[in-house]
Each structure stands twice: as structure tokens, then as C-alpha cells.
Symmetry: C2
Amino acid sequence: MGPPALLPPFYTPPFHSLVRQSPPRHHHHRPACRDPPIRSPAMASAPPLLKDELDIVIPTIRNLDFLEMWRPFFQPYHLIIIQDGDPSKSIRVPEGFDYELYNRNDINRMLGPKASCISFKDSACRCFGYMVSKKKYVYTIDDDCFVAKDPSGKDINALEQHIKNLLSPSTPFFFNTLYDPYRDGADFVRGYPFSLREGVPTVVSHGLWLNIPDYDAPTQLVKPLERNTRYVDAILTIPKGTLFPMCGMNLAFDRELIGPAMYFGLMGDGQPIGRYDDMWAGWCTKVITDHLGLGVKTGLPYIWHSKASNPFVNLKKEYNGIFWQEELIPFFQSVSLPKDATTVQKCYLELAKQVRAKLGKVDSYFNKLADSMVTWIEAWDELNPPKGGVATANGPPKK
Amino acid sequence: MGPPALLPPFYTPPFHSLVRQSPPRHHHHRPACRDPPIRSPAMASAPPLLKDELDIVIPTIRNLDFLEMWRPFFQPYHLIIIQDGDPSKSIRVPEGFDYELYNRNDINRMLGPKASCISFKDSACRCFGYMVSKKKYVYTIDDDCFVAKDPSGKDINALEQHIKNLLSPSTPFFFNTLYDPYRDGADFVRGYPFSLREGVPTVVSHGLWLNIPDYDAPTQLVKPLERNTRYVDAILTIPKGTLFPMCGMNLAFDRELIGPAMYFGLMGDGQPIGRYDDMWAGWCTKVITDHLGLGVKTGLPYIWHSKASNPFVNLKKEYNGIFWQEELIPFFQSVSLPKDATTVQKCYLELAKQVRAKLGKVDSYFNKLADSMVTWIEAWDELNPPKGGVATANGPPKK
């Protein structure tokens, strides 16, 4: 990993062209939508940010009608849809979107035995989309999330805000009391060390949710009517050394700089836990960004989270996690990565080793998870060989 | 220090009565104002929070006309005014406020040789007010700060919000993405460990500023017209292990639990540095709260900061600090306090020792500062003897 650039380089991995030549069978390429024939002068001068550098990853089990509301913001981008559950079911995608869709059969075919690291019947399956994307950036969103409005009543372009967050630095080493110092109208306050004002590359942008807050089952049960109506006009860096609960509902990241850490674990079908997929990814990601000197931002943008999931079902998924978490947090708080772990992959494999060594005794599930963490990195490296490398077997379908 | 209580105990130190019997000569006690004869039913059911448990400390060199705007919020409370500069000058305080006022002569008389630890011709002198207060809580505000309005146009009762912040716990061990989980309409999000949801006692509430942001001289020079217009509706805990730039303009704290750490250092007259008084206090306070398991909040409330100080004058005060700070931050980031430092005083004296050992080589100023830190604690303990203790010489004026 060279010095991370803040502006997206127009880097195309060699493997990229191979994917374009061999799209999965559900791939729909609609150049007309990506390059609309009629452009207003305003659009010509301000094309969608990172149009060719970002994929939107959506895990789903249903028709994607929710995209209609996102059309003005998402249509210029390429979508990667991960169809969870029954692969024989057909998922309808509204007209005009450029997308590729993978179901369980595709995942099994592309990864072979390594497909075991991708969860089934759990939105954790979305991380397969991170792996097959060939773009520098990924935005992932749940299909029950809609466009929120800011306090002035204007529709929030969540993706645009995420991109702004990712393209401006983070400040993990010292807290700025006026929040993100790189926003218009803000700066570093008196007493902020000048040597730290350059910041570090932002690799994660964690967005929030109006309406249904992201509560655990016990809190859902206790506060069934609570709605989040507070629009907090802030973005801030999660300080170095501080863990946070990363939610996968409205999340963007730099997959080139942190992608291999974004493994959503083993959840759902056949596993003793659910709803900790994004949390797991968040804890792993945070200790790795801290180690590598990269930044994580949280706050804006908001999306509108339309409906609460069933708290009884959630409790069943969560209850092991609620116990285990009490051991996981001290583990992640005290993880130390060696100096020679200079790439995300090396950090992640080291983390897998420590998970096995220290969490295996909490439950044998963590031995299985540690195995999967290794498998995930192997699969990632196969689908994303180093520049100049060659794709090996079990990659995407050959011609 | 016993187990810190979240609700204010109605504790009166034995020394309290002595001060009441021997007020400094400027003391005006106006019981009529503290217990208004006419109370609406609403007021009767909701008296001002902590009316008898909080002092407002104001450093000033001018007539306190700014209090007129604060009258509805401050009048029920007792004020401690620290008059900086020429002690022969008379400071006018609007009618109806209950206050005591100390000028340099009072400070010298009360502290004797120990008065050397209190800065002169710098708002750092305000910390003398923290020392002479006998209340559990202190709020301090600058005399160029006015009542701000929230986005709905309503006057913000800054003091009430500070008190709410201080009376609800902090969460320094894990970040909550919906900010303060104890506010109405908010809670801990999914993935927040249940064992950490009780929080820890909040001992500092750091409020912010609309209009003129608290910038250093270089930023003021570069952005003379920048105004802070962004109202961020959030309060959050500064995580453990993270330093922040604490501004003394709009600040509340629990003097019983953290007061002795709130020393604003040696600034102004005869010193090679200014405008780092609150920063110094903030760094010392933060490492001590982290060590003792106490919490620091920042965010709401806002005050309206009316006018920018002269950036050329500020640059002269700040330039040493701008250099030195680059050594101070790594120092504070790596400070480790011993396990037997179980009181704020013990922590602070240990910190003074480390300042001398490690910062003395940066500049001889830090040896002088380390001496003053020790003197400050001695003076604090004289004016605030342990429960059941006896006031010694050099205390407040004897009868």
C-alpha cells in the first residue's frame, strides 16, 4: 500500500477488464443511463461525484422498488445486488439502473469451497459484493432505507455526502470541538496542534438513520415507539483507540484502502448468531485503521429507515452476541498488531490468529469464524490479485 | 473521594459557614433575588436547577452589563466575579444579582505568597474563583458571551443545559453513534455493550459558541470573516484516551470531583505565553478524568460569542504556545498516572512532577509552571480543607 491518495486515482486493476468481458449472467449494462444524452450545463460542470469509481452494494430478498426513490441519486452509479435466500426466486430491479446481480448459486460457483465464508440468509452476504467490486469505493445500503429530508425539507443526497466524507481527511489523533474541520464554515479551533491539521485519509464514512433508530432487540422491546427525529448536523472522526458500533445500513468505504477488513463474518443460516455482522466488521476495521493511521468518520448523511425489524426474531439472533460482546470489546480494545503488519490483509490475518487464540475459549464459534476470516482473505486476493498479478482458479466464470 | 454520586448531595463543607460569616468586602447577598417573593406555579414546581449548589465564575476587566441579557437565567444563582487588572478600578454589576467580587488585592491578601500561582492580566485568573467557591458545581463564562438562540428562535438557557449534561452520565469507553444516549429520544444503539450503559459520572460540560468561533491567531488572520452558524444539536462524551481543546468561555464542571485539576496555569503578565490557560487545564483535566474513570462532555449548549479578539495581540500571546504545544500533546498523550493516585490532588501533584521532569527541557517556563501547579494544590487544600478539617492561615480574611 503506497501513500494513500486523498483524490481518487484513475486506477484500473488488470483484472477489471476480465470481469467486464465475463459479467455474471444477470449483468445489465446500460450506458445510456450512465451517460445521459441530454445534459444541462449545470450537470456538465458538476457530474455525479466518482461516477466511475464507486459501486453501490445492496443485499436483498425482495424486489428493489425502493430504488425508485433513490433514482435521482443512484442511477448514474453501478449497482451490485446480492440476492440472499432462495436463488430460484426472481428479483425485480426497476428499469434504467445499471447493475449486476449475484445469487447463492453465483457465489458458490465463483468461490467454490471458499464460498463457505459468505453468510447465507443474513444481510452479511453483502460483503460478497465488496469482494467482486472493482471500484475504489463502495457504498452499501439496506433496501428498507429511503431518502431522508434535511431540516429545510430538502431531499438528502446521502451518497454525495458519503463521498465528501471519504474525500476529506479524518482527524483521529485529537478531538476538534467544532466537529469536522474540513467542512465549509468550520476549521480547527484554538489549541488544535498544527502538526495534526493535515489529517489522515478517511476510509470509512458511517451514516445515520432518521425514523427507526438502529436499536438492539432489548431496546426495541422496551421502547417500541421511539423514533429518531433529531437531525444532528455534524460529521466527526471516531478518535484513535475508540471502538464504535458500525451499522451496515448506510455505509461507505474505500475498498482499495480498507476493503479486506470489511468482512461481515459468519451469520444467519447454520450460525449461532445474527445482527452482529456489521459490528464485527466495524471492530476489525477500527483496530486496523488505527494501526495503519487511517480514519473513520460518522454522522451525516442520514437516510430514512422505514421499518423496525421484529424484535422477537432479533432477540433470537442477538442473544449470543449480547453475551459474547462483553468479551469481544475488551479483546478488540487490547488487540495489538505487529509493526510488520503493513497491509490490510496482513493485519486481518494477524487478527484472525488472535481471534482463534483468545476468543476460541469463549465459544467454538470463534474458531470457525477465525477460519472464515482466513478464507475471506484468500478469496479476496483471488478476486483482487495485486496489480500485475494473474487471476487464479475459482475466480469469476471463465468464457 | 467516595463513590461519585450522580445526583448532587446536599453537602455543605464545614468551612462554608466561615465564608458566609466573613465575606470579602464586595460581597452582596440579596436573598430577595435568590428567593423571588412572587413565584408562578410553574416556577414553584420547577425551581432553577441546583440553585444552591452552583456558582457562576466570571473574570472581567469591565462593567458587567452583559449580565442584563443573562438575567432570566443567572439571577437565581450566586456569582463569583474575578476582577482582573487595576484593582482600584470599580466594576459595575447590574442591580439584583447576588455576587462576591475579588480583585488582585483580595487574591494577594487571601493567598499571601501563594497568590503567585494566580495569573494577572489574563482571564486565567478566573481559576481563583473555582478555589474560593464552596459549591459542588461551577459554571464559568466570558463577559463577551451572550444568549444564543436555537434554530427555532428560542433563547438558549445555557446553564440549564450544562447542568443537564453534568447530571447525566458520560460514556468514555465506547462511542455511541446517536451521541448522548441519555437525552430524550436517544439511547444506546445496537452493538453497544450492555455492561457499559451505566456510564460514569460527568465532571466537565464543555459548551460551544455561535458567531465568533474560538480560533487561534493564525486562523483568525486567515479567516477574519468566518462565523460559526452551524447549530449542531448534539452532546457527546470525549472518549477515554482522547485529548481535546477545552475552551474556558462557556464551561461547567463538578468542582467537588475535578476542581483541583482546573488550574488555568501561569499566563499573561510576566509570562511568556497567553491564551493557553484553558487548554492547559483541559489537558490536565482530561488525563486525570481518564485515570479516575470520570467523564467529559462537549457540544450543547451554545452561547453567542459577540466579538473576536485582536488577532495580532493574540499571535503575540500564542506564538510560544504554538511551538510548545507540539511537545505538550505527545507528553499528555503518553502521561501515565500511578495506581495510588486516587484523588484529583494526588493525580495533579504527580502530573506536576512529570511536567518538571519531561517539559522542563522544552523551556524553563515549565519548571515555573510545575512549581505553580504544586502551589495551586496547596492553596486549594487550604481554602478547601477535607471535611472535618480546619482552615489554616492565609485563608480568607479573618474577623
